[in-house]
Amino acid sequence: MSFSQQKEDKEIEEALVRDLQAGNLEAYDKIAELYQKKIYGLSFNLVRNQMDAQDVTQEVLLTLFRKINTFQGKSAFSSWVYRITLNASYMKLRSKKKEPNISIDELLPSFNGAGFQQEKIQDWSGNTESLLFTNETREVIKKAVDLLPEKEKVVFLLRDVEGLSTEKVSEVLELTVPAVKSRLHRARLFLRKKLSGYFEEYNSRKGEA
């Protein structure tokens, strides 16, 4: 995003916050228009269910309207929106039975004593174009992301999926930049390993066919 675009977004946000705080009801529609896709998308990736994501989106919109006077502008408005969305999604998840997470360490790369890779690495990156649009692949990707531990998952969703900058993620989650980077790197390693298992099997199936 260019600097002038960022500046423009910031001005739009600030005007919107002022309108909301002044009780201007037209601002409600603008908020919904600007943020509901982001709110719904992020919450859907966390709760993985249409009804629940809808509930979360309604609740977040309502919170934005009701709590707008507690927003002090210390962080960007959009960071505040993301934080409220995360909290509402977690509340929703807490009310459901949760599958236990697997340990991320088991899926990190392993090395021998001299620091060389121990496993055979297949390069499936050239095949991703054709793989991307199959439903099977989409399901595998969703499942892999669902298996990420919470701490890594949220960083991955905000940074790599929503496309926020590392600095912005650190603002939303109140984490240091190095902590964001380290969690993101671990998340990517975990997902790479999960997807590798699938793509290697997929390629060998295709080879046999």
């Binding site: 009801l25 998308g41 060389f116 890779q117 990156s125 991703t128 990517r188 997902l191």
Partner: protein, 82 residues
């Protein structure tokens, strides 16, 4: 000469272009001699692209959009009465 473990620890900053010149040079020298690490780099990058393209395409279904619109309208009417 850096080893595979160091190479993978540096991947994140390498992709961001955040490494200094010397470290970048040693990393690229390692890649020249190590096909598995090249494969790792390529698949590491592809992982992000694939996940992003799958997960950020989520559209609000029409029925949800309608529910949200009604919800908003109702809330506005309530506020107007106050």
């Amino acid at each position: 000469m850096i080893c595979c473990k160091e190479c993978i620890d540096l991947l994140y900053d390498y992709i961001e272009g955040a490494l200094d010149q010397n470290t970048t040079k040693s990393l690229e020298e390692h890649f020249q001699d190590c096909p598995p690490c090249i494969a790792f780099l390529n698949t590491y990058k592809s992982t992000t692209t694939l996940c992003r393209e799958t997960l950020n395409q989520i559209e609000i279904p029409d029925e949800v959009r309608r529910t949200l619109q009604n919800f908003l309208k109702e809330h506005k009417t309530q506020q107007e009465k106050l």
